[in-house]
């Protein structure tokens, strides 16, 4: 990229990095917030939070991501600039988000010059979001951000979403100041009334109002230490949060549109279903063209969509496909947390990765079901990615039990 060359900084322009201080041993008994230690602690915390199986998770999420694009986002304390770093991580986030929350929707806003701009509306198509994020890279960052304006805007987009879904806002806030037209306390109150959870990730330092917003709306507030930590923080938002307050368990009506023309499921008259039609997702845009026979028809009203999941514009039915739901399944039945053990003498290696336990490793983890021992890394991997215990899965008895 042309402008990337311009923003590339020389070694002497960058901040003082006293790399030797990171490995400094602490004599006075103070906790040096070591990066590695913090990351590990955050990992454990997250795992612990997720572990309690009984909580209700908001699986159907509507999330607005607000990206600060004010002047301070051009600072180079994250490489190459704060803004580019954040955008890059957001791409990863969007991808992960839809991977883990297939029936959720996401929208993106930016805030600069005391205003807030809509980049994408709430939608379930990750390609579109990633594309929009890539376009954002050319955007200039200027002026001051406005927390209130952007929160209000996100709130307007979220407040009409169905009550059973989890409404969330994620703010990536680089500035230390916000320029608001009115009393932000009122905004916080209406956010709370609308059951919208605001999580904020600060890029510079702890700002009190951010902490207050997050605390009052039940979200989280974190400040990064470096770009690795930032990635950690952003990705921690991928997991669906526990439902705040009392959303009643309700049955949600969903439609499962028929797939390809060859696979006629017989829900409706096949010839009408596969006749060329305009896709309702793109009907507003000028580039929309007549669609071929591919697409998904709403089983209720027959509107055609080019992608799933989506909420039918005509009749409001949530349209999903079965694999989407299946992928969300593990949120409903998270695996039980593994028990932390001190080194067990008879277990010499990790069951999952077959790594030998060394002296330095103090704790190992045991699955309560199958009593297999794994290492910390595997524990986290199982929890975050695999969502199933290899010990239980390989044991025919427990595997049977689990499916029941």
């Amino acid at each position: 990229m042309a402008d990337e060359d311009e923003t590339k900084e020389y070694r002497w322009e960058s901040g003082y990095e006293k790399t030797w201080e990171a490995i400094k041993e602490d004599d006075d008994g103070l906790l040096e917030s070591n990066v590695a230690e913090l990351v590990a602690r955050a990992k454990r915390k997250r795992a612990a939070l997720k572990a309690s199986g009984a909580i209700q998770l908001g699986m159907m999420r509507h999330l607005f991501v607000i990206v600060d694009s004010s002047e301070c986002m051009f600072l180079q304390d994250l490489k190459p600039t704060r803004f580019l770093c954040v955008l890059k991580l957001l791409e990863v986030f969007v991808h992960e988000f839809f991977d883990l929350n297939p029936i959720s929707q996401l929208g993106i806003l930016t805030t600069k010059l005391k205003r807030s701009d809509k980049i994408t509306v709430l939608a379930g198509n990750q390609k579109k979001h990633i594309e929009a994020l890539q376009h954002l890279k050319d955007l200039s960052c200027e002026g001051e951000p406005s927390l209130q304006n952007s929160l209000e805007r996100a709130m307007n987009g979220l407040k009409n979403m169905p009550a059973h879904s989890s409404r969330e806002i994620l703010v990536l806030f680089g500035s230390l100041t916000t320029c608001d037209p009115g009393d932000i306390q009122k905004t916080i109150k209406s956010l709370k009334d609308n059951n919208i959870r605001v999580s904020i990730i600060g890029l510079a330092a702890e700002v009190r109002i951010c902490r207050e917003i997050a605390k009052k709306t039940g979200g989280t507030y974190n400040v990064l230490i470096d770009d690795h930590h930032l990635k950690e923080l952003i990705l921690s938002q991928v997991q669906p949060p526990a439902v705040a307050g009392s959303i009643e368990a309700s049955l949600v009506k969903m439609g499962f549109p028929g797939g390809t023309p060859t696979l006629n499921d017989g829900t409706s008259d096949s010839s009408a279903d596969h006749a060329p039609a305009y896709c309702l997702c793109h009907i507003d845009s000028e580039t929309s063209s007549l669609m071929g026979p591919n697409g998904y028809n709403c089983p209720q009203c027959g509107s055609r969509y080019c992608e799933l999941p989506v909420e039918c514009k005509q009749c409001g039915l949530t349209l999903v496909s079965a694999p989407h739901l299946a992928r969300s399944y593990h949120h409903l039945f998270p695996i039980k947390p593994f028990v932390e053990r001190a080194q067990v003498p008879d277990a010499t290696h990790c069951f999952a990765c077959a790594k030998l336990f060394v002296e330095a490793e103090t704790n190992v983890y045991e699955c309560e079901n199958c009593n297999q021992i794994v290492c910390l890394d595997c524990d986290l991997f199982i929890r975050e990615t695999l969502h199933t215990c290899p010990g239980c899965a390989s044991d025919p008895v427990t595997a049977q039990m689990k499916t029941n």
Binding site: G15, L31, S33, T178, D180, Q185, A205, E206, V207
Partner: protein, 760 residues
């Protein structure tokens, strides 16, 4: 929790204790055991008050004969209220643990203004007016007149108290100002007089410094406090100035003009009385001849005029003949006032000793020392005799009478300075006579002599060895405690140069230099861009603040600053400043961020806490030396040098550094708080300045952070702020800076605490 402090069972009302609190208790107990005075420094936000209270209450319970009373002196009403809250917590804990009512009476005392419940008097907003109106309703002659004539108004609440309140002591418990008022309302007794009456048998009294240090008040309020008391001066870093102020007098020309008016009023009243009721004047005369101090002095309500000198100096003799009759006294007063007026007619500054003044007044207007000494007392007697109920108009005359008495009583430790104009406006004639106390030990000496233990404590008392010198006492314990922290939550830095390597300093020679001013501006702008929420800046004086702000305006620095934060400025006007403060807090609360520019030694630097987000950073622009050209200061320095062998420079640095430390301490109000402290002056890194900072700040001031440029400072700030923003919970503190009982009793911790106690 219940603690064992060196064999003493102490009830501590919290589940956790800081290690330094325990050390503090140990030291305090040693001082109490030795029946000596002590000087203890412990950072603010570490629970000094509750530590003091719980140890002393426990000591009182264990040794009821050795220690009967705690007198806790604080500075402001909110601070007094805070102490009462802590005391209440402690007493509740005692009750819970012991399972019965505690026989301890604690109460707060403040001025009439804060305690009055009289429907109309309490509406007044000025303390003096409330005092005056109270006097006009409760003075003994008013009440006597009321007995004769029902139309004369009196205060029902006082009457109620006088009739019943004295027999029934206040039931044990903790009474803050509001509780007293409520109790007063309920019983229809005057809370102020109830509180004053109760002081004698209360176990714990909390009031302001002046009730003990100012001889004018102490004589009336604190006379009967027993010797076996412990006196605590909290926030006592300025105690020497309080002592000096309580003995100093300032007389301006306007004041003297008002005096003449008051004298005329007195004159007419006397002549009226002579026609109507000459007996009373005669009676007064006789009483004065007999040398009896006025019998009615025992009447508590008549305290409005009192002798300004210390009790030991008051002469127990008859008033000299020359001023016994009212007319003679009036003539005498006139002469005194006229004499002072002529003295004020000077063209250049005059400085003389009290002895010189006495000689001069004797040669010029033939006034001897002896009658002069009785001026204050004689005036009080006269006003009482004349039954003047509105005293507010006489305050100028009272000031002059105080001056006359003081100048003729003390020949050492005082000086008289007459300035024809202010230094800043040499063309405007504005003559002022300063009668200035130079020796802070004069006012506090009776306190040290009288009470077995005096505790002087504050967050910033460094360097500790200066206080025993200037207050002239010998402490048995002198200790500075540091703050044990689980994370380095203060970041002191000395920034000595700007990015262009020009040294930053508020030295007189360079303070007008644009490069220096610009560098200060850039420092502020860059820090404002890196630090969230509130930033407080301190300048050395209002004058310096004004010049800097105006040149920042020209250099465009103000505009740059306002891109990041809103700007507020403290002024000499209290109302304006409090408005600025309110809006500053608002701006910090809603996330806009704000910068407050204020002045060391100003109102903001002394009384206002900027905890958490209100003060994420404090910037100290320059070293806050006092205005060294002031003649009063120079006289004091000279005196300190001659009497106490304290070098001028030592005292100046001490004074500057204690104010700097006060300013820096504004941003740290507890262990969960964190704040940056930037000392922007090259001279701070010199050993003599650095070593005078409190130990708890010095501990975190690393050598590498002592000679930074602006950008280095900002880099360090940024990294540190990110670290501080990481989640921090009680678990992190536990075992390091916060201890449970088990942890406290563990051998390892006991050893550490012992070491700490010895190390200092």
């Amino acid at each position: 929790m219940k603690l064992n402090v060196d064999g003493l069972l102490v009830y501590f009302p919290y589940d956790y204790i800081y290690p330094e609190q325990f050390s503090y208790m140990l030291e305090l107990k040693r001082a109490l055991d030795a029946k000596g005075h002590c000087l203890l420094e412990m950072p603010s936000g570490t629970g000094k008050t509750t530590t003091l209270l719980s140890l002393i209450v426990a000591y009182m319970k264990a040794h009821p004969l050795d220690l009967t009373k705690l007198v806790y002196c604080s500075r402001t009403v909110p601070e007094i209220e805070k102490v009462m809250e802590e005391l209440r917590k402690l007493m509740n804990y005692y009750e819970k643990e012991m399972g019965m009512e505690q026989n301890i009476l604690g109460l707060a005392l403040s001025s009439r203004k804060n305690l009055c419940i009289h429907p109309s008097v309490s509406k007044e907003r000025e303390g003096k007016v409330v005092d005056g109106r109270c006097y006009s309703l409760t003075a003994s002659f008013v009440r006597a007149r009321h007995a004769a004539d029902d139309a004369v108004p009196i205060c029902d609440f006082y009457e109620g108290f006088d009739a019943h309140g004295k027999e029934f002591p206040l039931p044990p418990g903790v009474y803050n100002l509001d509780d007293l008022k409520e109790y007063g309302q309920m019983k229809r007794w005057c809370p102020y007089f109830l509180a004053r009456h109760t002081i004698i048998h209360a176990n714990i009294v909390v009031y302001s410094y002046h009730y003990l240090l100012d001889p004018k008040i102490a004589e009336v309020v604190s006379k009967e406090i027993s010797k076996t008391s412990v006196v605590v001066f909290d926030e006592a870093h300025n105690i020497d100035n309080v002592c000096i102020d309580s003995m100093s007098v300032k007389i301006t020309k306007r004041l003297l003009d008002k005096c003449s008016n008051s004298i005329t009023i007195l004159e007419t009243t006397i002549s009226n009385m002579k026609e109507n009721d000459s007996k009373r004047l005669e009676k007064e005369y006789k009483r004065l001849v007999e040398g009896l101090r006025d019998a009615t002095i025992a009447r508590e309500t008549d305290m409005a005029l009192v002798n300004p000198v210390l009790p030991s100096e008051v002469l127990e003799e008859a008033v000299p003949g020359t001023i016994r009759t009212a007319e003679h006294f009036i003539a005498f007063l006139k002469r005194v006032v006229e004499y002072i007026k002529t003295r004020l007619r000077v063209q250049q500054v005059v400085q003389e000793s009290p002895a010189g003044f006495l000689r001069d007044i004797h040669t010029k207007v033939c006034i001897d020392r002896k009658p002069l000494r009785f001026t204050a007392e004689r005036l009080a007697s006269l006003i009482r005799t004349l039954e003047i109920s509105d005293l507010t108009d006489f305050s100028p005359l009272v000031t002059v009478s105080h001056f006359a008495t003081l100048v003729s009583t003390y020949t050492k430790g005082f000086t008289i300075i007459i300035e024809p104009f202010e230094d800043r406006a040499p063309t405007v004639s504005n003559p002022i006579l300063y009668f200035s106390c130079l020796d802070s030990s004069i006012a506090i000496k009776p306190v040290f002599n009288r009470f077995q233990t005096v505790v002087i404590t504050s967050g910033t008392l460094s360097p500790l060895d200066m206080y025993p010198k200037i207050l002239d006492f010998h402490p048995v314990i002198m200790t500075s405690f540091t703050m044990t922290l689980a994370r380095p939550c203060i970041l002191p830095m000395i920034v000595s140069k700007g990015n262009d390597q020009v040294a930053m300093s508020s030295r007189y020679e360079t303070r007008e230099d644009t490069a220096v001013i610009r560098n200060y501006g850039n420092l502020l702008v860059e820090v404002a861009a890196a630090v969230p929420d509130g930033i407080v800046c301190f300048f050395t004086s209002y004058l310096y603040l004004e010049t800097i702000v105006s040149s920042w305006y020209d250099q465009g620095i103000i505009d740059q600053l306002q891109r990041h934060k809103l700007l507020f400025i403290e002024t000499q006007d209290a109302a304006e400043t409090s408005l600025a403060l309110i809006n500053y807090i608002k701006a910090c609360d809603n996330g806009r961020g704000a910068v407050l520019l204020s002045v060391a030694r100003g109102k903001v630097s002394e009384g206002i806490d900027f905890d958490h987000h209100l003060g994420r950073a404090v910037l100290m622009f320059g070293i806050p030396y006092v205005y060294t050209q002031s003649r009063i200061l120079r006289a004091r320095l000279e005196y300190l040098r001659d009497q106490f062998q304290i070098r001028e420079n030592d005292f100046l640095t001490f004074d500057a550094m204690r104010h700097a430390a006060q300013c820096l301490g504004r941003c740290m109000r507890g262990k969960t708080d964190y704040g940056i402290m930037v000392l922007a002056d090259k001279r701070f890194s010199r050993a003599d300045k650095r070593s005078k900072l409190p130990k708890w700040i010095q501990e975190h001031l690393k050598d590498t952070n002592c000679n930074l440029s602006t950008e280095e400072c900002v880099q360090i700030c940024k990294r540190w702020l990110r670290q501080m923003a990481q989640p921090f919970s009680r678990e992190d503190q536990l075992g390091i800076s916060l201890l449970t009982l088990e942890q406290l009793q563990s051998e390892e911790m006991q050893k550490k605490i012992q070491q700490r106690a010895q190390g200092v």
